[in-house]
C-alpha cells in the first residue's frame, strides 16, 4: 500500500531524529492532556452556580471611627436610607458570601453529640436576606421580622430557628424530611428548628470541602463583622455602587467605608484558580507552538537533504501529489508513534499528579481529543514543507550535490 516500505526504510536511516520528534509529541501530549483536565476542573469549579444573584450585588463594609459607636442604630438608619435609593431592589445586613472570610461550626441532628459533626458556614441575617441575595426558597418559609434578634456581640443567646441550604439538609437528613427538624451545635442541647430551606448558597469558602453547607440564623449582633448586601435592579449595579458610597458617607462621615461588587470579591477569591487556568492555557498553547516549530524545522531539513532523491523520483514520473503525500505520510507515522507513547506517558504523569497534588483523574477521552488536535497540528506543520517539496524540479536529478 502506497509507499510505506520506502518511508519506513528512510525513517530507519534517520531513526534518532524521527524518534526525537515522536518523543517530543508524546511528552507534549502528556503535558497538554493533564493540563487540560486541570483547566477544565478549575473552570467548572468557578462556573458553579453560587445560589446568589452575584452579578447584581454590591456590598458595603464600614468601620466606625468613634470608640462607642451604636452599630445597631447605624444599621437601622443605613438600611432605611439604602432601601430608598433609586435602582436598589433589596438590601440586607449580613456577611457577603464568596469572600473567603466567615465563620463555620459543626452541626448535629441530635443533642449532646461531640464527635462526627457536619461542618457548615453560618451567617447571621435579617428577614431580607433571601430577597437581597437573590436566593430561592425551596421549602418552608423565610424568617419573620419579629424572629430577628438584635444582640450585643457577647450575648450567649442561642438561635431557635434556622434556614439551611438544600445541600446541608440532604447531608444531615438523607431521608429528605429536614423541614421542621432541629439541628444542634456540637456538644450542645439547644434545638434550632429548620423553618426553611434555600436552594443553594456556596458560603464564604467555595473551594473548601464544606462549600454549599450553609446555615442562616435570625440574629444581628452589634459588632463590626457585617456587610450591607445590596441587590440592584438589573443593569443598575454600577450606578448603585457609586450612589451607595456617596450616601453612606453623607449620612455619617465618621467612618471608613469600603464598597465593592460581589463579582469583584468572587474574582479575588478565585484569583489563584484563575492564575492557574491562564498559566496552564499558556503552557498548552506554547508547547503546541514549539512542537509545530520543531516539526517544520525537521521536515524542511529532511527535504533539503533529499532534494536530489526527490528530483530523481520526479524525473522518473512521480506526480507532485505523490511527493507531498510521501512527506505527509512520513510525518503521520512519526506523529502516530509519538501519540501512542504520549497516551501511556499521560497516564503515568496523571497518576503522579493525582497522588501528589490531588488533581483529577485523566479520562482516556480527554487524552484522545488532545491527541487528535496534536495530530492535526503536526500534519498542518508538515503541510507547507511537503507542498514545497513537490515544487522541486526534476532537473535536480541531474545536478551533483
Amino acid at each position: 500500500m502506497l509507499e510505506l516500505r520506502p518511508i519506513l526504510s528512510a525513517l530507519w536511516r534517520h531513526k534518532i531524529s524521527a524518534l526525537l520528534i515522536a518523543l517530543q509529541l508524546g511528552l507534549t501530549l502528556a503535558i497538554v492532556s493533564n493540563a487540560s483536565v486541570v483547566i477544565k476542573e478549575r473552570q467548572e469549579r468557578i462556573a458553579r452556580p453560587t445560589g446568589v444573584a452575584e452579578a447584581d450585588i454590591v456590598t458595603a463594609h464600614f468601620m466606625p471611627i468613634p470608640k462607642d459607636y451604636d452599630m445597631l442604630e447605624a444599621f437601622r438608619l443605613d438600611m432605611d436610607m439604602i432601601r430608598q435609593l433609586p435602582g436598589v431592589a433589596a438590601a440586607t445586613i449580613s456577611r457577603a458570601p464568596l469572600t473567603g472570610s466567615g465563620s463555620s461550626s459543626g452541626f448535629h441532628t441530635k443533642p449532646h453529640q461531640e464527635v462526627g459533626s457536619t461542618g457548615a458556614a453560618n451567617f447571621r441575617v435579617d428577614e431580607h436576606f433571601i430577597d437581597a441575595l437573590g436566593m430561592k426558597l425551596v421549602a418552608g418559609r423565610n424568617f419573620t421580622p419579629d424572629e430577628i434578634r438584635m444582640m450585643e456581640s457577647n450575648s450567649s443567646e442561642r438561635p431557635t430557628k434556622t434556614i439551611i441550604t438544600q445541600q446541608l439538609a440532604d447531608t444531615l437528613f438523607p431521608e429528605g424530611n429536614a423541614l421542621g427538624k432541629p439541628i444542634y451545635f456540637g456538644g450542645e442541647d439547644n434545638p434550632m428548628e429548620i423553618v426553611g430551606i434555600v436552594e443553594r448558597n456556596l458560603g464564604p469558602w467555595p473551594n473548601s470541602s464544606i462549600a454549599g453547607n450553609t446555615v442562616f440564623f435570625p440574629a444581628i449582633m452589634d459588632n463590626q463583622w457585617y456587610d450591607y448586601i445590596v441587590r440592584a435592579e438589573p443593569g443598575q449595579r454600577d450606578a448603585v455602587l457609586k450612589l451607595l458610597e456617596e450616601k453612606l458617607a453623607e449620612r455619617d462621615a465618621d467612618r471608613v467605608i469600603n464598597v465593592e461588587t460581589l463579582e469583584e470579591q468572587k474574582t479575588r477569591y478565585y484569583a489563584g484558580d484563575n492564575t492557574m487556568i491562564k498559566v496552564l492555557s499558556g503552557v498548552v498553547s506554547l508547547l503546541t507552538f514549539i512542537v509545530a516549530l520543531g516539526i517544520v524545522g525537521l521536515t524542511v531539513f529532511w527535504i533539503t537533504q533529499r532534494q536530489k532523491q526527490i528530483g530523481v523520483r520526479r524525473a522518473l514520473g512521480a506526480t507532485r501529489l505523490a511527493i507531498s503525500r510521501y512527506f505527509l505520510l512520513e510525518n503521520l507515522m512519526i506523529a502516530a508513534t509519538g501519540i501512542v507513547l504520549g497516551v501511556a506517558t499521560a497516564q503515568i504523569f496523571n497518576k503522579f499528579l493525582a497522588s501528589e497534588f490531588g488533581q483529577p483523574a485523566l479520562p482516556l477521552s480527554t487524552t484522545l481529543i488532545c491527541a487528535f488536535i496534536l495530530l492535526a497540528v503536526s500534519v498542518a506543520a508538515a503541510l507547507v514543507p511537503a507542498l514545497r517539496a513537490a515544487n522541486i524540479s526534476p532537473a535536480m536529478a541531474t545536478r551533483s550535490v
Partner: protein, 437 residues
C-alpha cells in the same frame, strides 16, 4: 581555541538563521517557563527569619479536642488561647517572647488633611521588635506594663510616619486609632518579610502591619482578632471576659532561646505548665507541644502550596520537551554540515576537536536562549503579578541569583542537548564525503 570555536559557531548560526532562531526560541521559551515557576517557588520558600533561624521558635500547645487532633500536619492548633499566652508571658526563661495577633481599625489625625483610613495593626507584646530584629528609626518600644495593662502607646512604621507626619520624628505626637488617642513611642523602618514567617495565618504573602499596639489593650477595645479563631469546646460565652477565658485559639506565640541549655529549661517549663493545666482539667490530649524554628515553621505551614509545586513539575516537563526539540534541531543542523566536517576530519582535525567545536556552538545557542529566557521570565512574573491581584507581588520578582540561574540553566540544558548531536558529528567518516566531492 575557544575563541576560534565561538567565531566558527557564530558564523554557522548566521548561515542557518531560521533553524538557529528556532532553537534559540525553543530554549528561551523552555527556560522562561521553567524559571518563572522556579522563581515563584524559590521566593515563596525563602526564610525571612534566616538570620535568627537557630534561636527563634514558634510555639504550639496541644490543647485540642480529646476526640480528634487538630486538622493540620502538626496535629496541634497553630495558635494559643489568650489565657495560655498570658500565663506564658510571665516566664522569665526566654530571652524574648511575643504573644500577638492581627487586628486593624480606622486611623484619624486631628487637624489633618489625611482622610480617615483603615490600618492593619498588630497587637503584640513589647519584645516583638527585639525578637524579630526590627530596627527603630525613632524612639523604641512601649513600657513593660503595657503587656498586661491598658497603655495607649503605639509604634508606627516608616510609611505611616511619612503619611501622617511627613517623615518627621513623631515620637510624642498623638494619633487616633479606633477612636482613641495614642501616643507615638516609636517609628520602625519598613519591615515586610515575605513570606510573613511570623504570621502565616492570614495569607503568607500579605503586607505586614502598619501599626503596632500593646497586648494589654484587649479589654479596653474588646478586641476580636482579624484572623483565624478556632475552637472545639462548647462553652457558654456571656461576656468578652468569658471569651478571653475560653478555649478558643487565636494568639500567635514566638520565643527566642539562645542556647540548648535555655531551650531545655524552657521545654521543662512547658512540660510543667501543661501538667499543671492537666491537673485543672484542661489539655485533655496527650502531653505535646511544638517549638519550631522559622525554617521548620514554613514547611509545616505548607507555604508553597500544591498548585505552585505542580506548576514547577509541569514546567520542568515543559523544559524537557524544549530540550528534546533542541536535540532534534541540533542534530539536523550538524548533520547538514557533515560534508564540511568530513573535509576537516580528512585534513587532520581530531574527533575531540570536532566534538568540542560543536559543543561550543550549542553553548552559544544556549546563551542566546538564556538571555531571551530571562526576558520571558520577567514577562511571565509580571503576568503572574497581574493575574494574582496583588497576592503575589512580593514573590513574583527575580533577584540576581535567579537571573544567573536562568543563564546557567539555559547553557547547561543546551550543552546537554548538544552532547549527542556533537558526538554524532564527530564520528563522521571522512571517506564518504571525500568520494563525492
Amino acid at each position: 581555541m575557544i575563541g576560534y570555536y565561538v567565531s566558527l559557531a557564530l558564523r554557522s548560526l548566521r548561515r542557518t538563521p531560521i533553524l538557529s532562531a528556532l532553537m534559540v526560541a525553543a530554549i528561551a521559551v523552555g527556560v522562561g517557563a521553567a524559571m518563572t515557576t522556579l522563581t515563584l517557588n524559590y521566593m515563596m520558600s525563602r526564610n525571612a527569619l534566616a538570620d535568627k533561624n537557630e534561636v527563634l521558635y514558634a510555639l504550639q500547645l496541644d490543647n485540642w479536642d480529646p476526640h480528634e487532633a487538630a486538622d493540620n500536619p502538626s496535629e496541634m492548633p497553630w495558635q494559643l488561647t489568650y489565657k495560655d499566652a498570658i500565663s506564658l508571658l510571665r516566664s522569665d526563661i526566654p530571652t524574648y517572647q511575643v504573644a500577638m495577633h492581627r487586628w486593624g481599625g480606622p486611623v484619624t489625625l486631628e487637624d489633618s488633611t489625611v482622610r480617615p483610613y483603615t490600618a492593619q495593626a498588630r497587637v503584640t507584646s513589647r519584645d516583638f521588635f527585639a525578637l524579630f530584629d526590627i530596627p527603630f528609626i525613632y524612639g523604641g518600644t512601649w513600657a513593660k506594663e503595657a503587656d498586661s495593662n491598658a497603655v495607649f502607646q503605639i509604634v508606627i512604621n516608616e510609611a505611616t510616619n511619612e503619611k501622617l507626619f511627613n517623615g518627621e520624628n513623631s515620637v510624642g505626637r498623638t494619633i487616633n486609632f479606633n477612636g482613641t488617642p495614642f501616643t507615638v513611642v516609636g517609628v520602625i523602618g519598613n519591615w515586610s518579610p515575605s513570606p510573613k514567617v511570623h504570621d502565616l495565618n492570614n495569607g503568607s504573602f500579605q503586607k505586614s502591619a502598619e501599626l503596632f499596639i500593646p497586648f494589654g489593650l484587649h479589654r479596653t477595645f474588646e478586641i476580636q482578632p482579624w484572623g483565624n479563631t478556632n475552637g472545639w469546646k462548647p462553652e457558654k460565652i456571656e461576656s468578652y471576659e468569658d471569651g478571653l477565658g475560653a478555649e478558643y485559639v487565636w494568639v500567635q506565640y514566638w520565643v527566642q532561646l539562645d542556647s540548648a541549655e535555655q531551650r531545655q529549661r524552657y521545654e521543662d517549663y512547658l512540660t510543667g505548665f501543661i501538667r499543671e493545666q492537666k491537673d485543672q482539667g484542661r489539655f485533655p490530649r496527650p502531653l505535646k507541644f511544638g517549638l519550631s524554628k522559622p525554617s521548620e515553621w514554613l514547611v509545616l505551614n505548607e507555604v508553597v502550596d500544591g498548585d505552585d509545586r505542580m506548576l514547577s513539575w509541569l514546567s520542568l516537563a515543559f523544559l524537557l520537551v524544549c530540550l528534546v526539540n533542541a536535540v532534534a534541531l541540533l542534530l539536523a543542523k550538524f548533520l547538514r554540515k557533515a560534508p564540511e566536517t568530513g573535509v576537516r576530519r580528512a585534513l587532520g582535525a581530531s574527533r575531540s576537536a570536532v566534538f568540542s567545536q560543536h559543543l561550543v556552538e550549542s553553548g552559544c545557542i544556549g546563551l542566546a536562549g538564556g538571555l531571551i529566557g530571562i526576558l520571558l521570565t520577567l514577562a511571565g512574573l509580571a503576568l503572574i503579578r497581574q493575574l494574582s491581584m496583588g497576592y503575589m507581588d512580593s514573590v513574583a520578582s527575580m533577584d540576581w541569583l535567579m537571573m544567573l540561574s536562568a543563564i546557567g540553566l539555559a547553557i547547561l540544558s543546551s550543552l546537554l542537548a548538544g552532547l549527542y548531536p556533537a558526538w554524532r558529528i564527530s564520528r563522521t567518516n571522512p571517506s564518504i564525503y571525500l568520494k563525492t566531492q
